[in-house]
Amino acid sequence: MDSAVTEPGAEHTIAGPAARPAVWTRLARNWSVRIGGAVLALLLLASGAAPLLGTIDPALIDPVNRDLLPGATGEVMLLTGESFPHTFWLGTDSYGRDIYSRVLYGGRVSLVVGVTVALLSLLFGILIGLAAGTIRWLDGVLMRVMDGLMAIPGILLAIALVALWRASIWTVIVAITIPEIPRVVRLVRSLVLSIREEPYVEAARSLGTPTAIMMVRHILPNTVAPLIVQGTYICASAILVEAILSFLGVGLPTDVPTWGNIMAEGRLQFQQYPHNVLFPGIFLALTVLAVNMLGDGLRDTLDPRFSKHGERP
């Protein structure tokens, strides 16, 4: 909650408790936040700065350097005819593409998809959830639609949607977002319904505050902490689903380096060259683990509902 709350038409300012510094200190002391945050920062940095980290073009096909084992060295020949020595830290695939470069660039796709899906599902979830929680006649209809949407297994729905639209980064993002929305809607609605009964909301209502202002000023700020936590979990799940879509061959086109795509190509030769599947797999698991740990830490420090038991909803 913000440190100060001002009523329209009233001169007084109510100073909130000095909660902000305490939250930051608590967050910085939490080991899940520290470890998850550090791993995530490293991954962000590595994929963001991929061109500076000794990578070569992740899509460069080079028949001479096919199926190299991790740590092998060789000559890279560019399309321009230039050539230079290169160490393939994580080996190459059956097209001679550098797995190390592909994995670093693949991290970009995963992180972009994860964050975008989390933001979009929060945005739509908040809008629909607020509507359901405040407009009575809409509530029943909206929640039945959400129940129905939730009954369709998320991955299946995402697969079907991608199949309809043909995959691009946006269709993949939208297809992963749609099954996530109902969960956010339920959370927002239940928060709104409980916050609506709080004395300060009642007080605001009795002062004649319009519904819209009440929503933005009194209800929304109190949903922030649980929503940040939920958003983190959605991010982790979106990264997983994107990788699954790519892995199954229904996600982004195979020439885009994503962790799922690298693994899908590697699986054909898994018995001889397990590293093509295992390295992107390890990166994927590590990323999702880091995001989940961050979520657990945020939940324990931010969300008062979970401070006692520390359980996932």
């Binding site: 129905g148 991955i155 683990l289 359980e311 996932r312």
Partner: protein, 313 residues
């Protein structure tokens, strides 16, 4: 009691209806001509016209939905233009492997997760508790296909203990049937174990603080009887609930696991259908999985009555 039963059954109807509308619209709202989409890329104009006629695509949307839902209710899910047979028949052929995998996974997960959760709650804060919580965060993060390949690599390739991939029908003998199911079930059960163990731990540790547990201990019951008869029995409702909610995870996992282990079940069928853009099959499988999910959760609601005599509707 009967009134509750009737009310609960009636409540599933809107959910199923919403699911049906979604699945129906999935195809009708595609950009382009649904008949052309169904017929596939190599269809002649005559074939497309025939499909348009048989689906009533020249009728208004609401009439189309009426025709479609009527067919579905009679068990007619349409014709797969890729597999050249009726979708109902196709699903029937692929049902056994998926059911075997799902059942095996649930049994394995419950058999492992519930005792672990009880033990963790019993020694709250001890090493087993902390190890289990760490494992469960890991379990949520490691992608099913990464774990699948790790297990294949370790157990089948390095150690040679179990077959690498494939499926044997039960009619081909129980030995090979089980040997082919062990790794896939183990792979799929990890995320489920993580989920169930967490909830068991939370629910049992709450029950352990109750007065009746102290009474049971005071009257000299052996500790295992306190844990099972008193703590676990009273903690059963959330555990059973999460087994039902987790089915959505399981269904998503089935799709991936069947692809990794080359099991010819419904999950593999979904992926094949998506790759072939075979929409009647995609719709049929999604509809089946969703109805299954809704019905299982209905069954679980009814199971509360047996689990907790305090619940009286």
């Amino acid at each position: 009691m009967l009134r509750f039963l009737a009310a609960r059954l009636l409540a599933t109807i809107p959910v199923l209806l919403v699911v049906a509308v979604f699945v129906f619209l999935l195809l009708r709202l595609t950009p382009g001509d649904p008949a052309a989409v169904i017929a596939g890329d190599n269809a002649t104009g005559e074939q497309i016209e025939q499909i348009r006629e048989s689906l009533g695509l020249n009728e208004p949307l609401i009439t189309q939905f009426g025709i479609w839902i009527g067919n579905v209710l009679r068990g007619d899910l349409g014709e797969s233009f890729f597999f050249r047979m009726s979708v109902t028949e196709l699903i029937g052929q692929r049902l056994e492997p998926t059911l075997a995998l799902a059942l095996c996974t649930i049994v394995l997960a419950v058999a492992i997760a519930v005792p672990l959760g009880v033990l963790a709650a019993w020694r709250h804060g001890g090493w087993l508790d902390r190890a289990l919580m760490g494992f469960s965060t890991l379990g949520f993060s490691i992608p099913v296909f990464v774990l699948g390949y790790l297990l294949i690599w370790l157990v089948s390739l390095e150690l040679g203990w179990l077959p690498v991939q494939g499926y044997r029908r039960l009619s081909e003998g129980a030995g090979p049937f089980i040997r082919h199911l062990i790794l896939p079930s183990l792979t799929l059960s990890v995320i489920y174990i993580a989920l169930i163990a967490r909830v068991t731990r939370a629910s049992v540790s709450e029950a352990l603080t109750e007065d009746y547990v102290r009474t049971a201990r005071a009257k000299g019951l052996p500790e295992w009887r306190v844990l099972t008869r008193h703590a676990l029995a009273n903690a059963a409702v959330p555990i059973v609930t999460v087994i039902g909610i987790g089915l959505a995870l399981l269904i998503g996992g089935v799709v991936v696991t069947e692809s990794v282990y080359a099991i010819p079940g419904l999950g593999r069928l979904t992926v094949d259908a998506v790759l072939a853009r075979d929409f009647p099959t995609i719709q049929g499988v999604i509809l089946l999985f969703s109805v299954f999910y809704v019905l299982i959760n209905l069954a679980i609601d009814l199971a509360y009555l047996a689990l907790d005599p305090r619940i009286r509707y």
